[in-house]
Structures are given as C-alpha cells and as structure tokens.
C-alpha cells in the first residue's frame, strides 16, 4: 500500500527565510569579535558580558581580588581567546596600563575576506561541475516554495504521479 498525499496550508508557518539586520548588541549573547569582551581583562572594568550582576548594583569593584594591579605605570598585555569567524580566526589583545585599557589590537586574517579560501586554510568543499539532471527522483528539496511556484514545480509533478 502506497499513498501520496498533498495539501497546501493557507498561511505558511514558515514561508520566510528573512534574516535581517539585528540592532547591534544583545549583551547577553556576544557574537564575533567586535562584541567579545576581551576579558579576563582588568577586573576594574565593569562587567559587560553575560552573567554579570547589573552594573548599577555593583559599585566600582576594585581590582585587588582577581588581579593585583601592577606597580604604578606597569603595562601588560592580555591576549583574548581566538574566535573563529567565517573570514578566519581572530585574536584580540588588549594592553593594560595600571587599571586602564590603553590599546586594543586584533590579529585579523591576512587575506581579507578571502582569508579562509587561501590554499591551505583547512577543510573545504570540493568543486564539481554544475549538473543539470532529470534522473528519477522521489522528492525535491528546494528553497521555500510559494504556492504559485509550487504549482509549476517538479515536486508538484511528482505529487500528481
């Protein structure tokens, strides 16, 4: 017993694939480098990343417990975690002098946007000739169909077998 059934929902649960501009930051969920707090930085900086108590309830916390401040005028560099991005690995380093951040540098992929596509940049997809097939198939995967496009689609033809 074999049966194909077909229906169109009047209003789609999921016709939209829109991915739009997100207003810059949800502080609960840092993304990428720009919003990544390079902490474990100076404890005197108010916590800005997830999990911290609301800043207002935590009056300026001196640096003593976590990291004793270096001698006056002392300067140190703190390297953040390396973050993977579609353009390559990015590492942010901050320079701290006393309890102030005096410099922030980021090591970016050297070849710009094509960085990860350089010869030996890790796993890649394999290139293959773009085929145009009409082989026997049971169903079709494709970008979201509108009901109009569905009527003209291969899947519609398959459903009418």
């Amino acid at each position: 017993m074999r049966r194909a059934v077909f229906a169109i929902l009047g209003t789609a649960a999921a016709t939209s694939l829109l991915v739009g501009l997100k207003a810059n930051a949800d502080p609960q969920q840092p993304t990428g480098v720009a919003q990544q707090d390079p902490a474990p930085g100076p404890a005197s900086a108010p916590p800005s990343s997830a999990g911290g108590a609301p800043a207002g309830q935590q009056p300026a916390q001196p640096a003593q417990p976590a990291a004793p401040p270096p001698a006056a005028g002392g300067t140190r560099k703190i390297e953040g975690d390396t973050v993977g991005t579609p353009y390559g690995a990015v590492t942010v380093t901050i320079t701290v002098s006393g309890d102030k951040i005096t410099d922030i540098t980021a090591v970016l992929p050297t070849a710009g946007e094509s960085g990860p596509r350089s010869a030996d940049a890790g796993p890649k997809l394999r290139k293959q000739a773009l085929a145009r097939q009409s082989a026997a198939i049971d169903t079709v995967s494709g970008a979201t169909y509108t009901s109009q496009a569905y009527k003209e689609s291969l899947q519609s033809a398959l459903d009418q077998r």
């Binding site: 017993m1 074999r2 049966r3 194909a4 059934v5 077909f6 229906a7 169109i8 929902l9 009047g10 209003t11 789609a12 649960a13 999921a14 016709t15 939209s16 694939l17 829109l18 991915v19 739009g20 501009l21 997100k22 207003a23 969920q29 993304t31 990428g32 993977g84 991005t85 579609p86 596509r117 890790g122 796993p123 890649k124 997809l125 394999r126 290139k127 293959q128 000739a129 773009l130 145009r132 097939q133 009409s134 082989a135 198939i137 049971d138 169903t139 079709v140 995967s141 494709g142 970008a143 979201t144 169909y145 509108t146 009901s147 496009a149 689609s153 291969l154 899947q155 519609s156 398959l158």
Partner: protein, 239 residues
C-alpha cells in the same frame, strides 16, 4: 503565500491506518502554523513579539524552539538570526523542525518508510520501494524543471535555502544588506531543523559560507554560486 506539504507513506499498512497517519501529520502542521506563524496576530510568536505574551508563559514547544534558535545564533556566529529586522521570526528553523517532529511521530506510530516534504525541506526514512533508498533531487537554481544534485538515503534530512525564487531576501546581518553570492545551499544530516538553519546561515554569509559549511560536523552540504560554480562536501550522500 502558502507552504506546500507533500507526504509519502510507503509502508504496507491498511488504507485507513495510512489515512489516519496522514491526518495526524497535517493536523500537526496546522497546529505549528497556528502557534508559530508570523502572519497571524494570534500566534504565540506574534504575541511574544508584540509583548502581550511573556516568553516564559509560552508553550513548551515555543520555548524549546526559541532556545534552539538562540543556540544556532551562537553556533553560526550570528548569521542565523531570528530577530531579523527587529521582529521575531523563527521560520528559518521552524519549518524544518516541524517536519522533523512529524517524521519522528510517524516513526513512533509505526511508519518506518516515509517522506515528508514541506516547502522543499525534506525528511526521509526507510525505503520507497523494497531495497531502494529515497532519492531526493536538489532543484537546479537556474532551471525549475531540473535538479543539480541527486541525494539518496534511508534516514536523512535535506534542507535547501536559496535566492532563486524570492530574489536576494536573506540579509547579511553583519552588513545589513541582502546577501549575494550563493544561489542555492543544501545541507543534509540527522536533524532537519538544524539543517534548515545552517543552510540559511550559509546564504547569509555569501561566498564565505562555502568554507564555513565545510567545518560542520555530521552535516554535509552542496552549494551553487550565483555565477554557476558548484561545490559539495566529501561525504555528501549523492545517489
């Protein structure tokens, strides 16, 4: 706008049982539509977006979906973003998830051989004919009457995102402009919701999505660029 849902139940079951299973699938998809549609003001998603339903009071399915979308947002470096344009639109995950749940329920109800396809998001299990795998074509982005990949599987999710039907409508959330570069991205793997979100994220990344897809674990991919180049991962289950 509607989503076409095709269901193929290939089990040797009595007619009335098959009809009952099909009714359950369509009832589930309608229920998902009622609760998740961004086009219906009464859906839970619309009410959460409007501030009239606290997210904490939403149904468990809605809470689970929003949690999964938040995980995927992190996992895709922000490229899968349901807070598009300031609203709340989890559609890029919900359709695949709903089909995955429908297939899971079919399996639990005794159908080991079926194919569920909602708007091009496909979940297959078992065999269409004894001894044969399901054959899933990937629509050719430049020719609606042809396919450019043929995949085969007996337990497989296949999701495709692309720009060929609706134009460049997936926005690169970093730049705030419609993403270009990839006409069609197909992702296969065990879970259709994830596959759907990964495919959408790769389209949003543009050409950089090609290398990002290669880093996924347990999910294979096939890509056609705007200028007609074609790529696939080594383990893509091609027929």
């Amino acid at each position: 706008m509607g989503t076409a849902i095709s269901l193929d139940i290939a089990d040797p079951l009595p007619d009335d049982v098959v009809t009952g299973l099909a009714d359950d699938v369509f009832a589930w998809m309608r229920e998902v539509d009622e609760r998740f549609s961004t086009y219906k003001e009464t859906s839970e998603i619309s009410r959460i977006a409007a501030g009239t339903l606290p997210a904490a009071e939403a149904s468990p399915d809605v809470t689970d979906v929003l949690a999964a979308c938040a995980d995927l947002w992190r996992e895709t470096d922000g490229y899968f973003d349901i807070q598009a344009a300031g609203g709340l639109d989890p559609s890029g995950y919900v359709k695949g998830w709903a089909v995955q749940v429908a297939s899971d329920r079919l399996l639990a109800a005794g159908s080991a051989n079926h194919c569920v396809n909602a708007g091009g998001d496909v979940r297959v299990r078992g065999h269409p004919r004894p001894g044969e795998p399901w054959r899933v074509g990937v629509r050719h982005p430049f020719d609606p009457t042809a396919v450019c990949f043929v995949l085969a599987g007996t337990d497989l999710a296949v999701a495709t995102s692309g720009t060929y039907e609706r134009g460049p409508h997936v926005v690169d959330p970093r730049r705030g402009v419609p993403a270009v570069g990839l006409s069609s991205v197909t992702v296969t793997g065990p879970d259709l919701g994830r596959a759907d979100a990964y495919a959408t994220a790769a389209v949003a990344m543009g050409e950089a999505g090609i290398d990002w897809l290669a880093t996924l674990h347990g999910y294979e991919s096939a890509v056609v660029t705007d200028d007609g180049r074609s790529y696939r991962s080594d383990l893509l289950p091609q027929a």
